[in-house]
């Protein structure tokens, strides 16, 4: 071993870091070295090991190192590195397989050790952190302890102070009590002194009084006298009697008689009171009996053991009732009987009432369980619900009323404007409808007009043809007639009549639309204007339109309906003017003018007016 040490020394010296370690360790057994290696975890092992081994084995000491290793390994229980030397002390060859195995095992061991080391390290770390934590805890607890100690001391201090105070207060109380006692003593002493003084003073006063009395009364004061015209008789008419023992005795007697009479009077009163109370008791008892007897029957039926006592009760009561007269005598036994029986009855009544209560509660419980019977709670709940509903309804009605009122008054500008908007919208709609209606009417009118025009053209053509015919005819006549004058005059007549009729026809044909047109205008435009100004739905207008359109011949009546004027049989013109005048209040002058001017115009004009309206 010593040899090995010298060899290893220089190698070890290079590793300055671990020198000391290994020097000390080499002295120990190789096992310890191994363990040492394991222990010194901080050293980067691979390099060290390598360097160590490189330093450990050199060319020169291979054998030695092998043998050493073998030795070491065998001591650790590894198989020998050398081949099994069957032969003698020949040189044993190195068993490579064994070496490799050993190496492998060593490596495995190394790995294991490394793992174990790691584990240990982590455990160490863990433990370290635990330690730290515990230390922290410890510090905290220490602090807490400190604070609580301080608190305790503070409290103790306070307690001490309070105790001190208490002691002081006790002292004060004691002092006060003493003071009170003292004062009371003083009061008492003063009182006694006062009384004493009073007595003394009174004595003096009495003495003085006595003296005064002597002085005043014994002087035979002539002044002290009674002047009286004549003595009057006593009120009772008797003469005054001398004071004797007899009178005294009589007075005593009288006094006692008075007292006696008073006591008698009081006794009578008390007796009367007693009698009345007894009467009340008796009545009560009777009533109780009558009240209880029907109830008593039932329990008797139910329970046989009660019958005997109950029966005896009844008998007893009956017996007592017979002895009613006895009650007038205030005898103790009777009184006892009465009170006892009353008590008994009372007890029965009480138990009965209790029973009834129990029954009621039972019934109540059953009632709750019973589904057919609506329980009181349900009833109450229902009624509550209904009440709430009623309340709600009432509130609703109220709010509605309020709203209605608001609507009616239209107090708010917003609401009124809103309402107006609503109304305008409605009107717009209605106007649109009317507009479409009017358009239709316009179309119809145009159609009519066209037909009229056509008819007129046709008429014109016919007329032309007719005139041509007539001309031809006249020509023929003129040419062929001999009786020219006579015929001519007739013709003229005829002609005039004919032409007149045709003219008239024409007129009527023309006047029809004309008469109708202004009328429709007169009816329509004011309606529109009225709608605008009044901002009210004018539903009759459309129907009027229809009316005016359809029944042209009934102008006057329709107008009259519109205007609701009493004059019915007025001519068209007048009626129309009348309406116009009436409407003029509300209608615009332009439209009116339009009406008047447009009488000869076509209704298209009125439509133009209307176009502006919406």
């Amino acid at each position: 071993m010593g040899d090995w040490m010298t060899v290893t020394d220089p190698a070890l010296s290079s590793e300055s870091k671990i020198t000391s370690q290994y020097t000390s360790e080499t002295k120990m057994s190789p096992s310890s070295l191994y363990s040492q290696q394991v222990l010194c975890s901080s050293i980067p092992l691979s390099k060290n090991v390598h360097s160590f081994f490189s330093a450990f084995c050199t060319e020169e000491n291979i054998e030695q190192s092998i043998s050493y290793l073998d030795q070491e390994l065998t001591t650790f229980g590894f198989p020998s590195l050398y081949e099994d030397s069957k032969g003698k002390e020949t040189k044993r060859g190195l068993n490579v397989v064994a070496v490799l195995n050993c190496m492998n095992e060593l490596l495995i061991l190394q790995r294991k050790n490394l793992l174990a080391q790691e584990n240990v390290e982590t455990q160490n770390l863990k433990l370290g952190s635990d330690m730290g934590h515990l230390q922290n805890c410890y510090a905290k607890l220490k602090e807490q302890l400190e604070t609580s100690r301080r608190e305790m001391s503070g409290l103790q201090e306070r307690d001490r102070q309070l105790q001190c105070k208490n002691r002081n207060l006790h002292q004060l109380l004691k002092n006060e009590k003493d003071e009170v006692q003292k004062l009371q003593n003083i009061i008492a002493s003063r009182a006694t002194q006062y009384n004493h003084d009073m007595k003394r003073k009174e004595r003096e006063y009495n003495k003085l009084k006595e003296r005064l009395h002597q002085l005043v009364m014994n002087k035979k004061d002539k002044k002290i006298a009674m002047e009286i015209l004549n003595y009057v008789g006593r009120a009772d008419g008797k003469r005054g009697s001398w004071r004797t023992d007899k009178t005294e005795a009589r007075n005593e007697d009288e006094m006692y008689t008075i007292l006696l009479s008073d006591y008698e009077y009081r006794q009578k009163q008390i007796l009367m009171e007693n009698a009345e109370l007894k009467k009340v008791l008796q009545q009560m008892k009777k009533e109780m009996i009558s009240l209880l007897s029907p109830q008593k029957q039932r329990p008797r039926e139910r329970t046989d053991d009660n019958t005997g006592t109950a029966l005896s009760d009844v008998e007893e009561d009956a017996g007592e009732m017979n002895r009613e007269s006895i009650w007038d005598l205030s005898c103790e036994t009777v009184r006892e009987q009465l009170t006892n029986s009353i008590r008994k009855q009372w007890r029965i009544l009480k138990s009965h009432v209790e029973k009834l209560d129990n029954q009621v509660s039972k019934v109540h419980l059953e009632g709750v369980n019973d589904e057919d019977v609506i329980s009181r709670q349900d009833h109450e709940q229902e009624t509550e619900k209904l009440e709430v509903e009623i309340q709600q309804c009432k509130e609703m009605i109220k709010t509605q009323q309020q709203l209605l009122q608001q609507l009616a008054t239209a107090c708010d500008d917003d609401t009124s404007s809103l309402l107006r908007d609503c109304y305008l919208l409605e009107e717009k709609e209605r106007l649109k409808e009317e507009w479409s209606l009017l358009k239709e009417q316009k179309k119809n009118f145009e159609k009519e007009r066209r037909s009229f025009i056509e008819a007129a053209i046709r008429l014109g053509l016919e007329r032309k043809a007719f005139e041509e015919e007539r001309a031809i005819w006249l020509k023929q006549q003129f040419l062929s007639m001999t009786n020219f004058d006579l015929q001519n005059s007739e013709n003229v007549k005829l002609f005039s009549a004919f032409s007149g009729s045709s003219d008239r026809d024409n007129h009527t044909v023309h006047s029809r639309p004309r008469a109708r047109k202004p009328h429709s205008v007169a009816n329509g435009s004011p309606n529109c204007t009225s709608k605008l100004t009044k901002s009210l739905p004018a539903s009759p207008s459309t129907s009027d339109f229809c009316q005016t359109r359809s029944c042209v011949s009934e102008h006057s009546s329709s107008i009259n309906i519109l205007n609701i004027t009493p004059e019915e049989t007025k001519p068209n013109q007048v009626g129309r003017e009348c309406t116009n005048l009436k409407w003029s209040v509300a209608s615009r002058p332009a439209s009116q003018e339009g009406c008047y001017n447009g009488r000869s115009l076509t209704y298209a004009n009125s439509h133009i007016h209307k176009d502006n309206l919406p």
């Binding site: 009384n195 009073m198 007595k199 009174e202 004595r203 009084k209 005064l212 009395h213 005043v216 009364m217 002087k219 004061d221 002539k222 002044k223 002290i224 006298a225 009674m226 002047e227 009286i228 015209l229 004549n230 003595y231 009057v232 008789g233 006593r234 009120a235 009772d236 005054g240 009697s241 004071r243 009178t247 005294e248 007075n251 005593e252 009288e254 006094m255 006692y256 008075i258 007292l259 008073d262």
Partner: protein, 458 residues
């Protein structure tokens, strides 16, 4: 309600005769006796000096007029105007004079309470009673007039002597366990004598006619005690008013307290009716208000007033007593049972404007009347539960269970009613002012019917 004309009066001396026929009034040194119904002067007597006290004898035959300054008593007979009697106490002086119940003896108390002289009008005899005690109410006659109890002071102890009035014989003499007896009063039945101590100690003793001590009652100690005592007409209750502002009612069987009536300044019980007198805001009053300088002068003489039912809670005006003076204005100082025992009227001296009326049957407060000015005096109608109150104003107030009314006393000038007294049959009241008096007649028929109904109710 009618009022008589106003008559002159001095010293508030105006008394109805016990038989109810006459009315005696004093004007300086003259004694005027009038017929109650016609108010015509029946007799007119002239005394030697200004009358300080006048009293009818029990049989309404004589009137005594005391002139304390001169130590003189003059007695007049109604039947014999020429009859006269003059009693001179001479140098002994005179401080009190009264009739004995038989109407034939006069008891004169000399100055310094040296003695009581009993003068007889029937005989020449004169009796003396020594050692009378100078106290609030030292003499009491039983209602039947048989006995007289007299408080005495001998050897610094209180004694009570009971005399037989017919011959002034001493019936009983006993000392009482009182420090300083202040008063004594017979129960109306004449069998129990209540004796109470001075205000320094609350103590009331009840003695039987034969001198036995029946009971002693003490409500509290170390405080001012009894201020007033009153028996109920039935002798059933004894009301004791004390300085603590309470009335204690004792019963006549056990002489224990039945109940305690506290006079609280705030009333908050809807069952209690509080009538508050209020000035009527009439045209006159409005005019009065418009002249503030007039307001400063004082009370308007003829401002009408009416009662209003105050709404709960009511707080009454309290007078703060001066603690450092004798006879402080606290405690129940005046009490009176109604003639039918049903009501008790009380006045607490530190609530001077109020009269409490208690229902004795139910033992609770019934009505409180709050006046505009301090109550001077009140008295029950001898026939009905009807209370007349005066406050020193020109009005008289009447309360009955049906309600209450304030009546202005008519007549020019201010008639300040300082005192009043009922006629025996309750149909008129004498209203007394400083130097006038008048009679107030109540409409008997209407009132009687209404009160009859109320009587049934009660």
């Amino acid at each position: 309600m009618n009022f008589s004309e106003v008559f002159k009066l001095s010293g508030l001396l105006c008394k109805f005769s016990p038989n109810g026929k006459y009315l005696a009034s004093c004007v300086q040194y003259r004694l005027v006796v009038r017929d109650v119904h016609t108010l015509q002067i029946v007799q007119l007597y002239t005394c030697l000096d200004q009358i300080q006290h006048a009293e009818w004898s029990a049989d309404s035959l004589f009137i005594l007029c005391a002139m304390y300054k001169r130590g003189l008593v003059q007695v007049w007979s109604l039947e014999q105007p020429e009859w006269h009697c003059k009693i001179d106490e001479g140098s002994a002086g005179l401080v009190a004079s009264c009739w004995s119940p038989d109407g034939r003896h006069i008891l004169n108390t000399t100055e310094f309470h040296l003695r009581i002289t009993v003068w007889s009008l029937c005989t020449k005899s004169v009796s003396y009673i020594k050692y009378p005690k100078a106290c609030q109410q030292g003499i009491s006659f039983t209602r039947d007039g048989r006995y007289m109890a007299l408080a005495e002071r001998r050897d610094c102890r209180d004694h009570v002597s009971v005399f037989v009035c017919s011959d002034w014989q001493l019936l009983r003499h006993f000392d009482t366990d009182t420090q300083d007896l202040a008063g004594l009063e017979w129960a109306p039945n004449g069998c129990v004598l209540a004796v109470w101590d001075s205000c320094l100690e609350y103590k009331i003793l009840l003695y039987s006619l034969d001198g036995r001590l029946l009971s002693t009652y003490c409500a509290y100690e170390w405080s001012l005690g009894i201020k007033s005592v009153d028996w109920s007409p039935s002798s059933q209750f004894l009301a004791i008013g004390s300085y603590d502002g309470k009335v204690r009612i004792l019963n006549h069987v056990t002489w224990k307290m039945i109940t305690e009536f506290g006079h609280l300044a705030t009333i908050n019980n809807p069952k209690i009716v509080v009538y508050k007198e209020a000035e009527k805001s009439s045209r006159l009053a409005l005019g009065y208000n418009s002249f503030p300088q007039l307001r400063a002068i004082g009370t308007l003489p003829s401002a009408e007033s009416k009662y209003e039912i105050a709404s709960m809670p009511v707080s009454l005006q309290i007078l703060k007593p001066v603690a450092d003076r004798a006879n402080p204005k606290i405690g129940v100082g005046t009490m009176a049972f109604s003639s039918d025992n049903y009501f008790l009227a009380t006045k607490n001296d530190n609530v001077p404007n109020a009269v409490w009326i208690w229902d004795v049957q139910k033992m609770r407060l019934f009505v409180v009347l709050e006046q505009l000015s301090p109550v001077r005096s009140f008295q029950w109608d001898p026939q009905q539960p009807r209370l007349a109150i005066c406050t020193g104003s020109s009005k008289v107030y009447l309360w009955s269970p049906a309600g209450c009314v304030s009546v202005q006393v008519p007549g020019e000038g201010d008639f300040q009613v300082l005192s009043l007294c009922w006629h025996l049959n309750g149909d008129s009241i004498a209203l007394l002012s400083k130097d006038h008096f008048c009679l107030c007649f109540l409409e008997t028929e209407g009132v009687r019917t209404t009160f009859g109904q109320l009587g049934d109710h009660t």
